[in-house]
């Protein structure tokens, strides 16, 4: 069975022979533990990969988002970073004042995906391929306006906010449509909606503004026979029923922030849990036995003849031994 078939059977709750797996390696891990990263790739190759975009137009990016210093992305957002290996933050948003709205730069270069090359990439691998772009409308609003402005905007609801959301959303629809026309297996979006114990915004507000946008993205994917994956950090329990309702196929969430037992009791069998192993406590400070026990909890509570992908992030602070322990436990080594 190919990895692509394995992941598909996982998503369809069709009794895959083993847990599909994927390791997210952050630059921090490559810098600090290059041998471990190499060994993990060799012993536990990913069943899911992302396709490069093969843009025919150059993206106007200056700098490296994971390097110390400053980076300007294709939207014109400036990220400032204190250290190598982790992602920077926007400290001086380009649309801090609504009078600057005309400065919004839509990165049309991201629409110049070379479909032929993407399709060749997909055909030359037997792995499950995710689209090589990750729209993130809530986060993009924050990168452009500044987080504190956005939180206030969501309450004040100025006309300019609606205008900005519409323009970003229109672009993301176009971008996802470009990818939906390729041979990738799934489209993928992200937005971090949770704090440690609750949503960042009220679920009612989320449903009124953002749920309809996500539903449109999913329609683009499903309309072309693609699966739909989503990442969202933090406590998002209150909107998981909504994500299931609009058709998210796989969710990458901090399941140990919400409790795998509670998640499984409500959602097992209705959505695929795309990880994750706890990176706040277990991966940095747990023992190998803790990791094994956690994997057991994930299997027991979330797996229903499928519906669970063994995904783990190797990022700042993670103990490499625990990353190995995770995949060993997931493959019953």
């Amino acid at each position: 069975m190919t990895p692509r078939e394995l992941v598909t059977r996982t998503l369809e709750f069709d009794s895959p022979p083993r847990l599909a797996r994927q390791l997210w390696v952050l630059p921090w891990a490559v810098q600090h533990f290059p041998e471990a990263v190499a060994e993990l790739a060799e012993r536990f190759p990913d069943d899911l990969i992302s396709s490069p975009a093969f843009y025919t137009a150059e993206l106007p990016v200056r700098g490296d988002r994971h390097a110390k210093g400053t980076c300007v992305d294709e939207w014109g957002c400036t990220f400032e970073n204190l250290a190598d290996g982790i992602i920077g933050e926007v400290k001086r948003p380009v649309l801090a004042e609504w009078s600057d709205l005309d400065r919004l730069r839509i990165p049309v270069e991201r629409l110049t995906v070379d479909r032929g090359r993407v399709n060749t990439f997909c055909r030359q691998t037997d792995r499950f391929v995710l689209a090589g772009t990750v729209p993130r409308i809530f986060e993009r609003l924050q990168f452009l306006r500044g987080s504190e402005n956005v939180f206030c905007d969501l309450m004040d609801q100025p006309q300019e906010l609606r205008c900005l959301i519409d323009r970003i959303h229109e672009f993301y629809l176009k971008e996802l449509s470009v990818w939906a026309a390729t041979e990738v297996d799934a489209l993928y979006i992200m937005d971090d909606w949770g704090g440690q114990q609750a949503m960042l915004i009220s679920p009612v507000l989320w449903r009124s503004i953002f749920k309809p946008l996500y539903a449109e993205y999913i329609n683009v994917a499903h309309g072309r026979g693609k699966y739909f994956f989503m990442h969202s950090d933090g406590y998002i329990l209150d909107i998981l029923p909504d994500l299931v309702d609009i058709g998210v196929d796989a969710i990458n969430a901090q399941i140990f922030c919400m409790g795998p037992e509670r998640l499984g009791g409500q959602f097992a069998g209705t959505i695929t849990f795309w990880g994750e192993m706890d990176r706040q406590q277990l991966l940095p400070r747990g023992s190998r036995d803790d990791i094994r026990e956690a994997v057991g909890r994930m299997r027991e509570t979330l797996y229903r003849d499928g519906g669970l992908i063994a995904q783990c992030e190797f990022g700042p602070g993670a103990n490499p031994e625990n990353v190995f322990a995770f995949f060993e436990a997931c493959t019953n080594e």
Binding site: E80, K91, E148, C152, Q196, L200, Q280, Q281
Partner: protein
């Protein structure tokens, strides 16, 4: 409706222009600035914090309420200063060095101001010596530290050690917070308090200040 009740409601609703209007009217009507703060604004922010804890309010509601209170305080603060009024306590707050995440810390700072504390915000990526210097210079009652990364958390222990070495520990209570922080970690490093969200930070700060 009584003007103080109207002010209370306007702060909770996060209506900054209305808060400013009511505050101005109240001051013109010779309502004491202390009464406006202690009987309307601080109780309103306490209510906001309680609603956040109860899951009724979220970050946007907290932010606009804090913004509204600041609008009123901009009119009141000069009057309080002229009268030598004391705050609930003086807090030095910052995100530890190597860490640039500050939205949580900013929210806590706003809530502490709303709770009647004087807040000296050092920003993010704050070096240990900067914390020590600020605590000493401002005679801080409370030092608040934030970290969002497991790799920057250890800096909190170092900063506490340097506060002790500077002979400031007895004067200052220390509270910490941030996504990867736990009560266990707070106990391990000798912090006096741990607040797991912005809503509980004010009550934590009050209990620490009372213990001084």
């Amino acid at each position: 409706m009584d003007i103080k009740n109207r002010l209370f409601d306007a702060v909770i609703a996060g209506d900054a222009p209305l808060v400013e209007q009511i505050t101005r009217q109240a001051l013109e009507d010779d309502v004491s600035p202390e009464a406006l703060v202690n009987e309307s604004m601080i109780p309103a922010m306490d209510s906001v914090g309680e609603r956040f804890q109860a899951g009724e309010f979220f970050i946007p509601e907290l932010m606009i309420a804090a913004r509204a209170m600041k609008a009123g305080m901009a009119l009141i603060r000069p009057l309080l200063a002229a009268r030598g009024a004391r705050s609930a306590g003086r807090v030095v707050i910052g995100t530890v060095f190597g860490d640039q995440h500050d939205i949580g810390k900013n929210l806590v700072a706003s809530m502490l101001e709303g709770g009647g504390f004087e807040v000296i915000d050092l920003g993010f990526d704050v070096a240990p010596q900067s914390f020590v210097q600020a605590v000493s210079e401002h005679r801080a009652d409370i030092l608040g530290m934030s970290a969002l990364l497991t790799t920057t958390m250890p800096a909190m222990r170092q900063i506490i050690d340097e506060i002790e070495a500077a002979d400031l520990r007895a004067m200052t209570k220390i509270m910490i917070g941030g996504a990867p922080i736990t009560q266990r970690f707070a106990d391990e490093i000798g912090a006096d308090g741990y607040a797991d969200n912005a809503g509980s930070a004010v009550s934590m700060a009050r209990s620490l200040a009372a213990g001084l």
